[in-house]
């Protein structure tokens, strides 16, 4: 893993009225790593992530994502990242092929590139027979894998995954993480939020957010040592419980 920063966050805050959703966080993410972004519900993970992907303006602080400043160059940031949200967000009433063509088009891929990408993606996922099926008719696990692949269509430098495996069965989860590993291997940085602590163990480094602040940022192994426990689950419980 290189030490080249791909995300650099400095004193980033977001307030909604009096409520401080993200409170002065700073961290770096290195090129090619799988970065786990953990936290309880309402800890501010999603808000922080939304600032990094350029759809929410920081109240204060700065963040550089893929060499562009989210405060001033949000649209350039968007060109260089992929995003897959908690909610499945492809068009249910379009077919798989149409969705791929649509999102490929938005990212400015040429017709030939889209054709190539479609063929490759379909064979990777084994969806040859479903190409012209409506996305709405697919099972959730397939939808998520498809979503992930579509987020990678334009070969982004970083891909942000917001609870990508929520509600998905264990087998699909495992396949999903295999896809993540394969992608990280190609040099893509993975920024992932999750509530599954077994998934946290797969990450190179994890940060744990508690009430708008980052309370810990280490590799899972170091974290376990530091808190003298055997699983990430216990680390998480210790940290989250401290504040209560």
């Amino acid at each position: 893993m290189s030490q080249e920063k791909i995300i650099a966050v400095k004193n980033l805050s977001k307030k909604f009225g009096n409520f401080i959703a993200v409170n002065d966080i700073s961290f770096d993410v290195y090129k090619g790593e799988i970065f786990g972004f953990l936290g309880a519900n309402g800890a501010g993970k999603t808000t922080a992530m939304k600032m990094l992907i350029g759809i929410s303006k920081p109240t204060s602080g700065e963040a550089v994502v893929a060499d562009f400043d989210v405060n001033f160059q949000a649209e350039m940031v968007k060109k260089n990242i992929g995003y897959m949200s908690q909610k499945f967000s492809m068009y249910d009433d379009l077919t798989i092929k149409e969705n791929i063509t649509f999102f490929g088009g938005i990212y400015g891929l040429s017709r030939n590139q889209i054709k190539e990408k479609t063929a490759q993606l379909i064979s990777d996922l084994g969806l040859e027979n479903e190409l012209n099926k409506l996305v709405g008719d697919l099972p959730l696990g397939w939808k998520q894998k498809l979503s992930f692949s579509v987020a990678l269509l334009h070969e982004p430098k970083i891909v942000f995954l917001d609870e990508p495996t929520g509600g998905v069965d264990p087998i699909t989860r495992r396949q999903f993480w295999e896809m993540i590993y394969a992608e990280a291997h190609k040099g893509t940085t993975i920024f992932v939020t999750t509530h599954y602590m077994d998934e946290a163990e797969y990450c190179d480094r994890v940060s744990i957010m508690v009430e708008g602040k980052i309370e810990a940022l280490e590799s899972p192994k170091n974290l376990k040592q530091q808190y003298k426990v055997t699983s990430m689950n216990e680390v998480f419980l210790k940290l989250a419980r401290n504040v209560e």
Partner: protein, 354 residues
């Protein structure tokens, strides 16, 4: 959904155009004849001969007649007093009493006009008779008869007035509601967030969203004009291209309003509520059902901001009067102006990040 989109408007066009009539027909007419003379019978027969009146009752007393009016069984009571004919002959004048149910004031006004016309024509006739028989000096009755000619709609066919207006409504309603719901729907589903994370440009997104509805609006206009011509035989005197030119700009205004609504709402219910709010004001203040000239001054000022007003005005002018571009330059430029303002606002208020 697509068939519903197309079928409903035309059901509306067919039904509303036939039903939404300003003509008052089948007026339930009753009378009290206390004179029982030749003259009184002649007067009543004039009402019988009219298409607009149905004689329902010949009451014996005023009290009975009033009771039926209370019950809502009759609309009009004509009371012919005792000595009606004699007074006409001796004094050359007499009185008639007419009572009209004015719960619907507009209808009562129209009924009053019909009744006056009939009594007037009776008057003309009886006068000439009276002079002939009784006046020794025999003076030719002098009277002024005005013969109205109704320009641009010479048979006063209300459908000619209503069909273009209702067509305007349909085009407006469909495009406003669909565009207002559209982006909000994506907010609800979550696809809008996905779109906002892409580097798509604001105007690209908005054109992509609105273009289909723009086309749809023009398709509905086309089918509506066909129905107007083939089913209702409404004349299209002016240049049809002019109607299309105006509509294509007008649709931009309506779609822009829809987009604005959807930028400021979070759910489809909210969007629908606000869209309806505008729609009702726009319709009632468009001059479609009530002439703008008869509105109070402040209301007339408000109609200047109403895009439907201009569309109703223009489609009627072009279809019925054969107006050319130079006749509609003013409303046309106002609509162009609104299109620019509204859409700039809409693009400005659509935020990819907040």
């Amino acid at each position: 959904m697509l068939p519903i989109l197309f079928v409903l408007p035309f059901v509306q066009l067919l039904i509303l155009s036939n039903a939404a009539s300003f003509e008052v027909k089948n007026i339930r007419f009753s009378y009290i004849d206390q004179d029982h003379s030749k003259a009184s019978r002649e007067l009543i027969s004039k009402f019988q001969a009219s298409d607009y009146f149905n004689i329902v009752e010949n009451f014996a007393s005023k009290k009975e007649a009033n009771l039926q009016m209370q019950k809502g069984k009759v609309d009009v009571i004509l009371e012919i007093p005792n000595h009606f004919e004699r007074n006409l002959l001796t004094d050359k004048k007499t009185n008639l009493s007419v009572s009209i149910n004015a719960i619907d004031g507009a209808a009562a006004g129209i009924e009053n006009v019909y009744i006056s016309q009939i009594i007037n024509s009776f008057n003309q006739k009886i006068r000439s008779q009276l002079y002939q028989y009784n006046d020794a000096s025999y003076i030719q009755p002098q009277s002024i008869i005005s013969i109205p000619s109704f320009w641009y709609n010479n048979t006063l066919n209300y459908k000619t007035l209503m069909v273009p207006g209702i067509l305007v409504l349909l085009v407006t309603m469909i495009s406003l509601f669909l565009s207002a719901m559209n982006i909000v729907r994506e907010k609800e589903i979550g696809t809008l967030e996905q779109i906002n994370v892409t580097p798509i440009r604001k105007h690209q997104f908005i054109i992509g969203k609105l273009f289909p509805f723009w086309v749809l609006g023009l398709v509905i206009l086309t089918v509506g004009l066909l129905i107007a011509k083939l089913v209702f035989n409404i004349p299209i005197l002016g240049n049809i291209g002019l109607i299309y030119l105006f509509t294509s700009i007008y649709l931009l205004v309506v779609l822009g309003i829809g987009l604005l609504v959807s930028n400021y709402t979070e759910t489809q219910q909210q969007a629908m509520f606000i869209a309806w709010f505008f729609m009702v004001i726009f319709i009632l203040m468009s001059g479609l059902f009530t002439p703008i000239e008869s509105m109070p001054d402040w209301a007339q000022q408000i109609t200047l901001f109403n895009p439907i007003r201009y569309f109703v005005e223009i489609i009627r002018m072009v279809m019925l009067k054969g107006a050319t571009f130079s006749d509609i330059t003013k409303p046309f430029s106002i609509i162009v102006f609104y299109a620019i303002i509204i859409n700039s606002l809409a693009v400005w208020s659509y935020k990819k990040n907040n």
